[in-house]
Amino acid sequence: MPDKPEFWRWTESRWTNPDIDWKGKVITAGVDVGSVSSQAVILANGKLYAYSNMRTGSDSPDSAMKAINWAMEKTGLKLNDIAYTVGTGYGRVNVPFSQRAITEIACHARGGNFMYGPSVRTILDMGGQDCKAIHCDERGKVTNFLMNDKCAAGTGRGMEVFADLLGVSINDVGDLSFDIDTEPQPVSSTCVVYAKTEATGLLREGWPKNKVLAAYCSAMAHRIMTLLERIGIEEDFAITGGIAKNKGVVKRLEKEVGIKIMETSKYDPQIAGAIGGALFAKALYDKGKRK
């Protein structure tokens, strides 16, 4: 069989802020090693200087190194120029060069606050493995949080598997899911495996691909909505993590929840955790918790 194109592989990205020169400034970093993706963010005096967003390999310490090196690429920065680093995400304890590990819940709240502004009160982060609904105050401190129950795990990874199954690149899932005539009923939202078996059944009955995509995205949106409702949604409401790039889910969620979802900021929403980590690193550095 020909080497099957990997539809589940999403585009990796990096960025450097052209109008900041890091020399002479306090450099802090946050590295988020997630179950599916890893990000590294570098701040200069607390300002966003550079970031990278790539796939997590099967070896988390090595993924952390790759992420930070890719972020530092062509900036002239070296590892020991970084004054303080915070690790977060599933692999937060395996970030070899970090001084502190903080959970991605705290980091996404702080990162979301930075990316969307102090008015944000509810942040939804859907990573590869878990789905997190977080309440925070105007400084981005977590006041309450809720994570998906057991049967709803694997939502992010589920989307990848589904895109691969349908032979649709994950980046286009959002747009394609709206290229339909009528909005279909969502497939069962009990668990990811059900949703997939049911969706393949629909294909077998001759549903066009886009319509099945729509049914799957609306099932995801519906599941997220039940999680958000349990904790309650205070405005303003923002989404971080990979799912923020999937219009198919975000637009449908906005309709079901009936609350405006803040426009994705100019930064890649997947780096919210790493930004939070880097900001905490700055705060810890200022508090004299030197390396």
Binding site: G91, Y194, K196, R204
Partner: protein
């Protein structure tokens, strides 16, 4: 007498043509989403290899989750019925048959004529047995064909939740971040799946000569874990994924055990 069996599974379509109970041609085509088209393609290929035309077929039986989508057939027969018939034909001492495909796992107890005495399909929570290994091999960045053999090099058995594939996935992710060796992780994945399948077959009881068929039967890692779990050596016929279609063709020929 020339008969044909067509097995339309979740991922693949398999066709077998028999002439006086001898296999004269086989074909295997990806189901894709236009199932009728792929089924026709599989049939044409098998007819061409057998050097015969559609009219020469005396009887056709269709089976599998998409049995009704076969372009033409005389009758349909349940997957468990076909699996048992095919397994007993290939291995007369077979009394239990385990079929692990991409989506479902099935267990059957049968008699020497291949008639099904009792059967069980895997519990809903354990769906996607085959697809689970695929997702895990990708997560661990190991090509699917090497995933099985890799599991044999494991140094340690790590217990993993066998109840639900999604929960098992999240446990694999935890192992990745606890720096568990790839071989041990592969082993944990295969053990979890084997334990789910053996838990299902235990429900209906199994007797000596257990035959393992279906797409996942070619995975040596899974076979090893299953053997350990059941405490016996399962028999894996050549081309295990064709046994369902073979059974259908045998049923069309009215075969009831013996040669």
């Amino acid at each position: 007498m020339i008969t044909m069996g067509i097995d339309i599974g979740a991922k693949n379509i398999k066709v077998v043509i028999l002439k006086d109970n001898k296999i004269i041609s086989k074909s295997n085509v990806l189901a894709g989403f236009e199932v009728e088209k792929s089924a026709q393609e599989a049939i044409n290929k098998a007819l061409k290899d057998a050097g015969i035309k559609k009219e020469d077929l005396d009887k056709v039986i269709s089976t599998g989750t998409g049995e009704k989508l076969a372009p033409f057939y005389n009758e349909t027969k349940s997957v468990v019925g076909c699996d048992s018939l095919g397994a007993v034909f290939l291995h007369p001492a077979a009394r239990s048959v385990i079929d692990v495909g991409a989506e479902e796992g099935r267990g059957m107890r049968c008699d020497e004529t291949g008639r099904v005495l009792d059967f069980e399909v895997n519990e809903k929570c354990a769906a996607g047995a085959g697809a689970f290994t695929e997702a895990m091999s990708r997560a661990l960045e190991v090509p699917l064909e090497e995933f099985g053999p890799l599991s044999l090099k494991a140094t340690e058995e790590i217990p993993m939740n066998a109840q639900c594939t999604v929960f098992a996935e999240s446990e694999v992710v935890t192992m990745v971040h606890n720096k568990v060796s790839k071989a041990n992780m592969a082993r944990a994945v295969h053990d979890a799946m084997a334990s789910r399948i053996s838990s299902m077959i235990r429900k209906i009881g199994f007797d000596k000569d257990v035959v393992l068929i279906g797409g996942v039967a070619k995975n040596v890692g899974f076979i090893d874990s299953l053997n350990k779990d059941l405490g016996l050596k399962v028999v894996v016929p050549k081309d295990p994924e064709y046994v369902g279609a073979l059974g259908a063709a045998l049923a069309a020929a009215g075969w009831k055990g013996g040669k």
